[in-house]
């Protein structure tokens, strides 16, 4: 029974990081009306940013998280107008071309990083969170707990922005309907850029945290992209509550399969569940998402 609860806690702690990645991704999906295939590449680049901070400077990667956020947000702000332009272009099939465009960006990022650092796995080391915390017979690594707390803080701040500011209202309106938001005087292009850059910053930070828990290689991006898709599909497109639930479910599912069935089955089960969910309930498990 201890093993079960230990697995559950481990799963929830990792699930918190998936929530951070997916919440920005889900919103960028809603506002830009494009599935960003580069989401996994942002995670991978974030992890390598942590490695770079650690090896080039004497600063602890966790202390550099705000800098990572700013750098990634700036990069996102440069890319977002291009995606917006392709999505709103007069091509025959703008949605598919935009999909192909983010796929191209993801491939570019992966190829560049593979050329630069090769296929070796790297880990981010931090001095802030070491050792384990023992509660009621459960061993909780401080590292994972710190990552979870940080992810929840970032997610909470982002939610506060969404639900307590006027700009946040504009973001939610744009995610619901670009046409109507534009008619109400929302500058859709600016909102898209803002959301995409916040999402890139959040995902880059989550990448540093993930890199400190798991070893990461330059070719791991697509795997994390599929995990983000899993959360957004399971949670339902555009549903913030759905993302919270689905992110935690993903973490727990992964941990349970790894312990009780075997690590080599984890991805097969996750992708199988994702495929089944899409077929059975494309609006997400809470049935709150937008119709497909």
């Amino acid at each position: 029974m201890t093993l079960f609860f230990q697995t559950l806690v481990n799963g929830i702690l990792v699930g918190g990081l998936y929530v951070t990645i997916s919440i920005g991704f889900s919103l960028a999906f809603g506002v830009l009306d494009v599935v960003d295939f580069a989401v996994g590449e942002w995670v991978m680049l974030g992890a390598f940013a942590g490695v770079a901070v650690e090896s080039w400077t004497n600063v602890d990667p966790f202390a550099a998280l705000p800098v990572v956020f700013i750098v990634f947000a700036a990069a996102g702000a440069l890319i977002a107008p291009l995606i917006h332009r392709v999505r709103r272009s007069r091509y025959a099939r703008p949605a598919l071309m935009a999909l192909a465009f983010t796929f191209g960006l993801a491939t570019l990022a992966r190829g560049t990083m593979l050329t630069a650092v090769g296929f070796d796995p790297r880990t981010v080391h931090t001095r802030f969170a070491t050792g384990t915390l023992s509660i009621a017979g459960l061993e909780i690594p401080w590292l994972r707990l710190a990552g979870f707390i940080f992810a929840m803080l970032a997610t909470g701040l982002f939610m506060a922005f969404l639900y307590m500011t006027r700009t946040g209202l504009a973001v939610r309106a744009t995610a619901q309907s670009q046409e109507n938001a534009a008619l109400m005087g929302v500058d859709v292009k600016r909102i898209s850029t803002l959301v995409y850059s916040i999402y890139a910053g959040l995902t880059g930070m989550a990448g540093v945290l993930i890199g400190s828990i798991y070893a990461i290689t330059a070719q791991d991006g697509p795997q994390y992209a599929l995990l983000a898709f899993f959360v957004v599909v399971l949670g339902g497109l555009g549903s913030v509550a759905g993302v919270l639930v689905a992110g935690l479910i993903l973490g727990v599912l992964q941990a349970m399969v790894t312990i009780y069935i075997g690590p080599s089955y984890t991805l097969a089960v996750v992708f199988g569940v994702l495929f089944a969910t899409l077929l059975v309930s494309p609006r997400g498990i809470l049935r709150r998402g937008a119709a497909v």
Partner: protein, 323 residues
């Protein structure tokens, strides 16, 4: 035969004659590269059936390539000892059945959801092949060696030619071609004029699944050793997508031109740098640039087609377009 049809046929005849003559004058190295070009042209065309003509972007086509490769490899194991040519119909049948069964629910999804579902499906299949015992797991399968560069060149060439003729007849010279393009351009309207859209989409999915199965079978026999990484990896799907996209979606020449350009480039990168990581980066940049500036692909540079679009794209536009 009118003069216009003759001028249209001439480039096709020239390319076919050129390809048939290749083993006669090219060395071993270039014959192998052109064998790969034939294979990738066929694979990109198969993807183009669904992606270019049907408007459904699949990110899981490597699954069908892998099904064909595993069918051939498993049946040619020493204890079964099947003839190579008998294994191909088995792979084709397996791919067709999988495509028909999985296509029916999957093709109800649209746009990005379809892309994600096919990707998840292909990854799940790749993971299962890695953990299953009958596939040899990650250590893979070995096939009795048969080495003849010329034989495999002609095998791939004939398979590619047959694939192109079938696709040409079905997509450009039959009602099916109009139906699938109607589905792509406006599915509700297609249904309104009486097209059974579900059936047409499944037919297109099956057609675009059986072609990779044939190439997978020949590929397995060619490389004699295979594992999930070499025949089921997402890289294979990515190559199909990128070749069709850069060549020109929804055209006959596009996938062939994209395949020839990119595969030769790929091999040259291996020759120059010893690996293909920088090739991956270059392909990514090319895809992004093609989407931004040349959305109809390399074929649109052909004289007399819409090549001016490149120029128009670069000029400032009078008003922002609505999709």
């Amino acid at each position: 035969m009118s003069r216009t049809r003759l001028t249209q046929l001439l480039p096709v005849i020239a390319v076919v004659v050129f390809m048939i003559s290749v083993p006669g004058w090219a060395g071993d190295y270039w014959t192998r590269i052109l064998t790969g070009v034939c294979m990738w042209a066929g694979l990109a065309m198969a993807w183009n059936v669904l992606g270019g003509y049907g408007g459904y972007i699949s990110f899981g086509h490597a699954a069908f390539f892998g099904i064909g490769a595993y069918a051939t490899a498993l049946l040619m194991q020493p204890e079964r000892h099947w003839n190579f040519f008998l294994t191909l119909p088995v792979g084709v049948a397996a791919a067709a059945i999988v495509a028909a069964i999985l296509g029916w629910p999957t093709l109800k999804l649209r746009g990005a959801y379809f892309a994600i579902a096919t990707w998840a499906l292909a990854e799940a299949i790749a993971q299962l092949a890695t953990v299953a015992s009958f596939t040899g797991g990650s250590s893979g399968l070995t096939i009795p060696v048969f080495q003849s560069t010329t034989w495999f060149f002609y095998a791939m060439l004939i398979a590619a030619l047959i694939a192109y003729v079938i696709c040409f007849v079905l997509l450009e010279r039959s009602r099916f071609g109009y139906k699938i393009r109607a589905v792509r351009d406006n599915e509700p309207a297609a249904r309104a004029v009486g097209i059974d859209t579900t059936r047409v989409k499944i037919q297109a999915f099956v057609l675009s699944a059986v072609i990779p199965a044939v190439f997978g079978g020949i590929f397995a026999y060619w490389i004699t050793f295979m594992n999930p990484q070499s025949v089921l990896s997402a890289d294979i799907t990515d190559q199909m997508v990128v070749m069709a996209l850069i060549g020109g979606l929804g055209t006959m020449w596009g996938p062939a031109i994209g395949a020839a350009a990119l595969y030769i480039l790929n091999r040259q990168f291996v020759a120059w740098f010893g690996d293909t990581t920088s090739y991956i980066a270059l392909v990514g940049a090319l895809v992004a640039l093609v989407v931004l500036f040349l959305p109809d692909g390399l074929v649109s540079l052909w004289p007399g087609t819409r090549r001016l679009r490149l120029v128009r794209q670069l000029l400032p536009r009078p008003r922002s377009g609505r999709a």
